[in-house]
Amino acid sequence: MDTTIGSSTSGHTDKANGRVGLQQGEDLENDNFNIKNVLNALSLTSSSNGSPDSANSFWSGSNKTCSVIDGDSAYPEASALARITTDKLTQSGEEEIQKLVSDLKSLSVTDSHSQSNLDLRPEAQQSAQNSGSPVDRLNASKTQPGYSPLSAGICHTQISANYKRHRIVQELYQTERVYLCSLKLLLEVYVKPISIEYLNAVPVMGFQAVLEKMIESHSILLWDIKTLCSRLSGTEFGISPASISSDYELYKRSEADDVTGKPVFISSFVEILEKSAIPVYIYVEYCSRHSRFVSFTQGINIAKYSEKLWSILKKDEYWNLGSKAQTSYNNMDLSFNSLVQKPLVRSGKYRLILESLRSAELSSQVCDPFVLERIETALSIIKQQLNQINQNLYKSINRAELVQRLLGLNTRNRAILSEHFQMPISSSGSGGVDYRIFGDPILCGSMDAIWIESKGTVMHQAMAMLLFKSHVLLANSSGDVKFIVPLSVCKILKGAPEFDSGGLTLLNSIMVPKHFKLVFERKYCIYEILLVSHSLLETEIWKYYMDLLIYHVNGSYKFDFSYSLLCSNTGFRPLIHTPVRMSPITLLEDRFDPKNVIHKNCYFSYVFLISILSNGSDSQEIPSSARLLRLNADDKHAIDVMLGPLRSREFPAPIRTLRRTNRRPDLGFLRSSPSWSSIRLPAALHKTSSTLTLSSASVMSQTSNGDQYSATSSRDPRRTLTRSQSLRDVFRNVFKRTK
């Protein structure tokens, strides 16, 4: 790992003054070149991590962690930036939508637009024929009634199995084309534009990844059916598909003449359906993400995205059917709600298709037992797949909703997102983009954060730390979000050797390895936060997850200011939030005037010595220049209580303090208690203390190596007697449990 912050291949590090700068004239003028470079770099990052494609890595199943944590695009910001750039370059969205609408129009007669007009007015039956409404006239011009044996006076039971089979196969084929078209429209009209506008929205990114996979899967299904038909007959279904719906010849054909009557066709057909029609994992993901995505869209103006579609539809009389009176787009047939719901219904249709096919086979004069058995098998597999979808939907609680309840109701927190997305804050507290945008938190717990603000002020606060797929959030005990850091532009420095670059430096970092640094880039500045935990176990868990998400999910970043450059060039505004007065550890000199406040506050040449007071350290050994910080177990407890069910189970259970009524109880008096020295945990208990669900005595239990952080102020010793007695009782209970 780089030990020098900001070192890069494209820039150079000016160690004389400790600032990083690009070479003269390099790249800055040539925006396109820069974008290309950055995109290439991002793609290289992807491949170097062994994850060639975000969706592939997720769906391949090789990276189980990714699928568990959220299953979104593996390099969300990278792919998002790539999308926004390519969209600017191509502008091909409208042509694609136009093509899809045109395709859908040609297919719609057999799908959702089998409209007929039903005038319930008594006088309407006659008048409709004479003058009629625009709806009537349009219907008359549009409807293309197909041939039906029933209309020809043929008894239902006489209709050949061949005809039925043919219609079923053709129905599947045509409705599959419509379905695929609808999915693509959903992607092009709604999901893609939303994901571009809300780059960091995890519900959107995840949904888009699933939708794209679903389109790919159904394209293969359609292709397979088409290939099967062509291979067997030379053309689709033996005759032109366009003529099937109205071709009386079809009915007159004998079963032997038609390709759909052949056992090999039916067997191959049902085999394709059972293998490709319902990719269970995609549908499980789709159904699981459906609600959250729809909830997200309720906070934004979804009608805005249909404008492009509406402008295309308005030009075509066909799509204006029945909607002449509309002043706005409310044609639900292609509305967001209808399109987004289609996959939920479609999965059940394959079962109906197979049941119809079985029924047709049973009524056939030459019913083949082998074919019948094959259909039965496929039917049972399809049913099984539907059951799997039903059973495997996410049953877990909506943790994103809990985050929203915890942080989203705070006005200051809402203002952060409102400002970023330039949306007004509603007085009711609902609507707009909220904290569900980050998706489900992967890890939640408490850490003490230390950072530097202007004039070298060392800030220290106990924080709730929430790790998401693409971001990490830090909020204080009042629920105010202090930091939002995108994982795609950050790294962690895990130990003492990596801290040599200066800045926040722990004196006792070897003795107290319960910390790491979070370093991130924002607007040509590099910032650092020192994060200290109360126990080694918690620190290791945090490091593991941070490492996984930063380097293996989001992709490592070179800290060469290319991200800031890309943001400047594309106008992309990353979702980052820090305290206003926070000082950077370094910055890109070329971009700042020396008189700039940020430049002045940059503390690269300084070292802030920090000493964490622990059980084994003595304040007398600490140099006078060092800042002495104490971690307060009660602050940690307050954070743990605040997190409630959000707190991850990976961490040891939260430890209750003795004074529950006080929000920040001070247990410092325990140090001066005469009974203190007599209460010592046995060695056996030391080993297991981190895994015990202790109901008391935070002072002793939070460490596995005997360290303990607590305030040391002395209090009235007269009060300690009763406290120590109660403490003794508590420990007696603890000993009983350990036995």
């Binding site: 007669v109 057999t110 799908d111 959702s112 637009h113 089998s114 409209q115 007929s116 007009n117 039903l118 319930l120 309407a124 409404s133 709806v135 039906s148 044996p149 029933l150 209309s151 219609r167 079923i168 053709q170 045509q174 409705t175 599959e176 719906s245 159904c287 729809v294 309720q298 103006n301 979804i302 009608a303 805005k304 029945g322 909607s323 009176a325 002043t327 706005s328 787009y329 409310n330 044609n331 639900m332 047939d333 709600n337 209808s338 719901q341 289609k342 219904v345 479609r346 999965s347 059940g348 249709k349 079962r351 109906l352 119809s356 539907l386 979808i389 039903n390 509603s426 009711s428 609902s430």
Partner: protein, 210 residues
């Protein structure tokens, strides 16, 4: 003197209707949309939904987007996604089977618990033709079912999918109960009053004109 209000201005509103209940529900759908049982004229199984347009009066057009659950309602995890954002639900039971009414009641409970608060629910007894032929075949009395519907503020119909009896009338009654004015002109609708914004909103598309 104020200018007369143009009452001839055409009005168009579209609503999502979901069909729930026993498997014969699909027939009701066919009867309504196609006015026949002819399965061979157009595809119906594969269609995601069917649409039907009703001219309610001389200048009001109501379009139903009818979603048949294709038997998916048996999968409890998926069912709520079907009736999300539905404006109306047709819960069908068999007049000749008492247990089908109990099933319908459980659907109604679920709809009232999880669907839109303003959803219009119509409890519909099917196979009226059988009951009319032989009154002994009836297991669910009209009084019992109607009393239940009245108690919960539901619409109640008895129809025959086979003969088409009362089908059109039932859909017309549903259309009349739907908030057409709210759809046509959302600003004058009920949404201007106390609205629970946390609930799924079916009218978002009309809320902002394009």
């Amino acid at each position: 003197m104020s200018a007369p209000i143009n009452t001839e201005e055409p009005r168009f509103a579209q609503f999502k209707l979901v069909l729930l209940g026993e498997s014969a529900v699909g027939k009701v759908l066919h009867r309504f949309v196609k006015d026949s049982f002819d399965d061979f004229r157009e595809s119906t199984i594969g269609a995601a939904f069917l649409t039907q347009t009703i001219l309610l009066d001389h200048n009001t057009t109501v379009k139903f987007e009818i979603w048949d659950t294709a038997g998916q309602e048996r999968y409890k995890s998926l069912a709520p996604m079907y009736y999300r954002n539905a404006n109306c639900a047709l819960v069908v039971f068999d007049l000749t089977k008492q247990e089908s009414l109990e099933k319908a009641k459980s659907w109604i409970k679920e709809l009232q618990r999880q669907a839109n608060s303003d959803i219009v629910i119509a409890l519909t007894g099917n196979k009226l033709d059988l009951v009319q032929e032989d009154e002994g075949a009836r297991e669910v009395s009209e009084d019992e079912a109607r009393a239940y519907a009245n108690e919960l503020g539901l619409l109640y119909f008895e129809v025959s999918a086979k003969t088409g009896q009362e089908i059109k009338e039932s859909f017309k009654s549903i259309a009349e109960k739907l908030p057409i004015e709210e759809k046509v002109n959302p600003r004058q609708g009920r949404r201007s009053r106390n609205v629970d914004l946390s609930r799924p909103n079916t009218n978002d598309q009309q809320a902002c004109g394009c």
